[in-house]
Subunit: 676 residues, 2 copies
């Protein structure tokens, strides 16, 4: 290993066939980036040797069956190097990844997006690009593997998660959360290949970082190895050693970014090499002949053989899987498809019936626990956790057991004070398949989890975020802990269902929708403070599924409509009482999920929000976004108002804060009267 | 040092006076938490000894002059232990921190909020509570100190930043960004006191973490010390050693959370001890007599002497400061007050005039650079940087120099791939005083920076976030890098000004507002792609200050109003042309800052957005929030439409994406016609 400029001819001479295989990745990258006139050439060029050895000798996969549950997961955390992944998928024969797709790199409609996008093609195990996400997501995949191995046995679940991470990934704070969690949990099937090229966009890593990454990983309990990332034998030995560890392994692979080009070992080499002369010169330096996108037949054949290398193992696995008991197989498959068990519906209905009768006054975070207490026993595929707020988020139920280094059968994760790492791990658990993931924190700390939550929405991973203490109702902890703009932030995010249930019945309905979601993450916005049960008349129908509905109809002429969510629905009902006492016919609409309501047909939306009456929205949060329902949807600007927060909260008991900020039934009634 | 339960009597006997001083913190904490019936008792009880020795012997401060610029900064990153800070401020005689305030802990209107809130009282140097923020903010304070020391000399700037951080702070990813950055920059005036009590809310730290924190800090270039956190001599020795280092120092202070109570060394001890018997028993164990909130006179006197300990040094500093040249003094004071230099206004006007004449077609990120190129030379108090996207964010100007371990005169910070750490550091730089901070990243990565950006808004720190590549106009990097909901997220945040300028002139005006802001952070939402100059007629008036204004008036009868921001204003003008060609009188309103427009009088808002015409909003982002302007403000639901994004973006050249998502002049014109 050396920091010197490598001698390409010597590398080539030492391992001629390997060199050509790796060269296929390098030149496809050069060609695709040149064709797109944008992209990141340097990373695939630098890391091609490591990737080649990994895929050739260690990665367990079968290109013809990318959905094989027991495959190894390959996560390109350094997602800007997407051409590395696309090249590997194409060369090894993943059917979707045609040569044409490579030629259409970064073009509209191609599956070869600038960064790997989950869902675009088999073999892309997760969306990466925002740095640090891949490594943190991979921790979740490794957790899921451990849990399923404990549940189904080593014969059917025994695979690894391989992550390629660069300096950027390791500088992002989320990587520390991931590293510490993985080390603590002794996730020995997790291997991080650190592309140690010493370069970031701004220049030498030395410009911004002096961290001894190896010491850092060791400090969190990792096995740490290193190798010359251009020496196939050294790479192979390190990968072999990685598989033997009892801890997660990090291999620092010393590489040269943009190897062999004029931009080698420079910040510019991180980006797109598009100059035709430079591309040509680099190919010559590789000893590569032929036209753009042309791979010699013998090299393509070698790669295709690599693509079928796992087929035998896969076939053997299928035999072992077939030998499992029928019910276990069915259970395995059901969970893998992300289908809730049939009895979930009846379980939720029974809880709703019971609760609508007993009408408890509880915080919706407690309601959520009541749901989980009946759900977790019938859904053994759930894994839940909290970022060090277990007792506050009410996420732990009696039957779960704690997942730890010593107990892989446990289903509950103490994530530590790592909201971001938790959210990314939830994505990974969910993406792995076979497990249904949820995790809790205070809603305000959605801020910390946000980059990973956005990826949940973008990928459509149906994880559930249990976000308690969802307003000034949190009380004394004060404005740093009181969400104001967070509902807006989450609702503005495409592809995410934000539920703010008003009582235990709505919480049960929201959980049912979250647990049966196949393609959207769910956020449950839950209170710290106790709320009365408002749905005291049982209905089998899941009313939350409609997004918004009439909870209490006006008596007499309908003059006003109060729209509210969560903890403010009870206030709306109180206000309705005050108004009805004065003969002002008032409807109360509960709006637990804007997204689902927006999806309803006009007919239904019109029934809930007819033209005419004055409208007042009530939510202990920013008005931002509310005008859609207050002024839009047949509303009128001069007949609409909103009772909520106009700035940040304050530190005081919850009741005092509601009074202070004027979020009271009296104020709502006053606003309605002012509009009449 | 021992993990054994400490012998309180022995501790007391060994250092009787120290024990009583520390006891004052402990008992005030017990009393305040009991009175509030909520809060966090354990941390102040455990850390009182370290805090006592620090304030007694090392912290440079003068309670009577908390605004002394050369004071040490004390940052309670473990903000839940707020009673530690409030007790210290009260005991040492900070005038605002009266005993009554302690009695009103966590009550409405008190300055003693659940977590320390910047601005509530002198001595609270920053808002903490969201874990990890304090340590990351402190890095910025230490950077500012180094920079100002280089600029004004050691005689007037020579102080330290002390941080108290717990396991929670160190588990949060942002702490890694802070630690790595501080170690790299060799911020030797930064000392982190790690409250190493082995407890988090969920229980033993061992439940969630196995990290060797000392090794982790060493890996990033820190001096690492440790001490028994209940032994005053050992604490003193460690603090003394910390001041000698050439690197930042971390001292692992082994402590017992909730020392001396029945909840000592437990997760429950982290929270509120409110049981009267337990409070009484704990005080007895301390050997403490007297009623609640009662501090023996001699102890209060000792503490008040500590509070005046720095008055001599402060007086000497004032002499040295007075000896500085008049212009240097004036400059120091001006920057400290956060006042822009008088010539800023003329400089901006000159640039506007020049640009409105030359009418360049440039991306607004480039416009921003053009502004900084004329501003940085006349504002030597600016420090800017980027999270490894210097060449993309255009944040570096020719005269800045690079701030590094070797060059403290440099004003440009290579923050590394650490958006969150950067944002927190910007807060710290700004809070320190004397420096005006800005930092850049891609707007999508506001997600990473979000927790610290929220604190900017909550504290009112007027930092500037330069957020480039602010839409699908980013192009090929794809949906992970394309903001869609981020404008909504930022606009929904109280106390933040979000600017989305349409050309270089508006960019200059936005920068002027950001640079003169005293109490609000600013976000500049800037394009990657080139935009024409639209403000080709020079006006001295800062039009962006109005938030929204008529850029192009309708010819003939005003039938339609197009509302647009940033890159879509040019599209609006094109659409206007198409419509006017058909005789449809169309006004174009540029809305570079919603917040400032919302603050305008009704009269002005009405002039810009009169009732009557159809309205179409155009922004390459989610509609979320737009209805306020389209349907509200005299608008009508059936006469309003929006052209923008309905979901996530895609990977393709920018032009193709605008076509694909229908954000074109033709589409805008079509929508207008459909409403007529």
């Amino acid at each position: 290993m050396s920091d010197q400029t490598p001698d390409l001819d010597a590398l080539r001479a030492a391992n001629p066939e390997h060199w050509r295989r790796a060269g296929a990745i390098r030149t496809l990258t050069l060609d695709a980036v040149a064709a797109a006139n944008s992209g990141h050439s340097g990373m695939p060029m630098g890391f091609a040797d490591v990737a080649t050895v990994l895929w050739e000798k260690h990665l367990k996969f079968d290109a013809s069956r990318p959905d094989w549950p027991d495959r190894d997961r390959f996560v390109l955390s350094a997602g800007h190097g997407s051409m590395l992944l696309y090249s590997l998928l194409h060369l090894t024969g993943f059917p979707e990844m045609t040569l044409q797709q490579l030629k259409d790199f970064r073009q509209l409609g191609a599956i070869t997006a600038g960064h790997p996008e989950y869902g675009h093609a088999p073999g892309i195990e997760t969306t990466t690009g925002p740095l640090g996400q891949g490594i943190a997501t991979a921790v979740g995949m490794a957790i899921a593997e451990e849990r399923l191995r404990a549940r189904y046995g080593r014969k059917v679940v025994d695979h690894r998660t391989w992550v390629v991470a660069g300096d950027g990934c390791l500088m992002e704070g989320v990587s520390q959360e991931a590293i510490a969690l993985a080390g603590h949990l002794k996730l020995s099937h997790l291997v991080v290949l650190f592309d140690d090229n010493g370069i970031t966009i701004d220049g030498q890593v030395g410009l911004t970082d002096s961290t001894d990454q190896k010491a850092r990983f060791k400090a969190s309990g990792w096995q740490v190895l290193e190798c010359d990332g251009h020496d196939p034998a050294a790479i192979d030995a390190a990968l072999e050693q990685a598989k033997k560890g009892q801890k997660p392994t990090m291999i620092a692979c010393k590489t040269h970014i943009a190897l062999g080009s004029a931009l080698q070992d420079t910040g510019k080499g991180h980006g797109a090499i598009t100059d035709p002369d430079m591309v040509a010169a680099t190919k010559r330096a590789y000893g590569w002949e032929g036209a753009a996108f042309e791979i010699p037949d013998d090299i393509k054949k070698q790669w295709e053989e690599i693509g079928t290398r796992g087929s035998q193992a896969r076939a053997e696995w299928e035999v072992r899987f077939a030998e499992m008991g029928a019910s276990r197989k069915a259970e395995f498959e059901r969970a893998r498809r992300g289908e809730a068990p049939k009895k979930l519906s009846a379980t939720i209905k029974a809880l709703k019936r019971q609760v609508s009768e007993s009408a408890p006054k509880v915080a919706t975070r407690k309601s959520s626990e009541m749901v989980l207490e009946v759900v977790n026993p019938i859904m053994p595929e759930t894994m839940g956790g909290s970022a060090d707020l277990t007792g506050s988020n009410n996420t732990l139920t009696h039957d779960m057991g704690i997942f730890s280094a010593d107990d892989r059968k446990g289903r509950y994760l103490h994530f530590g004070i790592r909201e971001h790492g938790m959210a990314a791990a939830l994505n990974g658990i969910q993406l792995h398949g076979g497990v249904k993931a949820y995790g809790g924190t205070f809603m305000c700390f959605a801020d910390y989890a946000r980059p990973a939550m956005r990826l949940s929405a973008l990928m459509g991973t149906p994880v559930t975020y249990v976000m308690t203490h969802d307003s000034i109702g949190l009380g004394e902890d004060g404005p740093t802990h009181q969400p104001v703009e967070h509902l807006a932030m989450l609702r503005a995010t495409p592809g995410m269902n934000v539920f703010r249930p008003c009582d235990t019945v709505e919480t049960a309905e929201a959980w049912e929708l979250a647990l049966t979601s196949q393609s959207a993450p769910s956020v449950l916005s839950l209170t710290r403070q106790g709320l009365p049960t408002l749905r005291t008349e049982h209905t089998n129908k899941n009313m939350v599924a409609q997004g918004a509905y009439t909870l209490a109809e006006a008596e007499g002429k309908r003059v006003a409509i109060l729209l509210a969510t969560g903890s403010e629905v009870a206030i709306a009902l109180e206000a309705r009482k005050l108004l009805q006492e004065d003969g002002i016919g008032t409807r109360v609409v509960s709006m637990p999920c804007w997204e689902l309501f927006a999806e309803q047909e006009e007919k239904i939306r019109k029934r809930v929000l007819p033209a005419g009456p004055v409208r007042v929205g009530i939510e202990a949060a920013a008005r931002f976004g509310w005008d859609r329902w207050l002024v839009g949807e047949r509303g009128k600007a001069n007949k609409a108002d909103f009772v909520g927060m106009e700035g940040f909260g304050a530190s005081a008991p919850a009741g005092a804060l509601y009074e202070h900020f004027g979020i009271t039934a009296e104020e709502v009634a006053r606003r309605v009267r002012a509009l009449l």
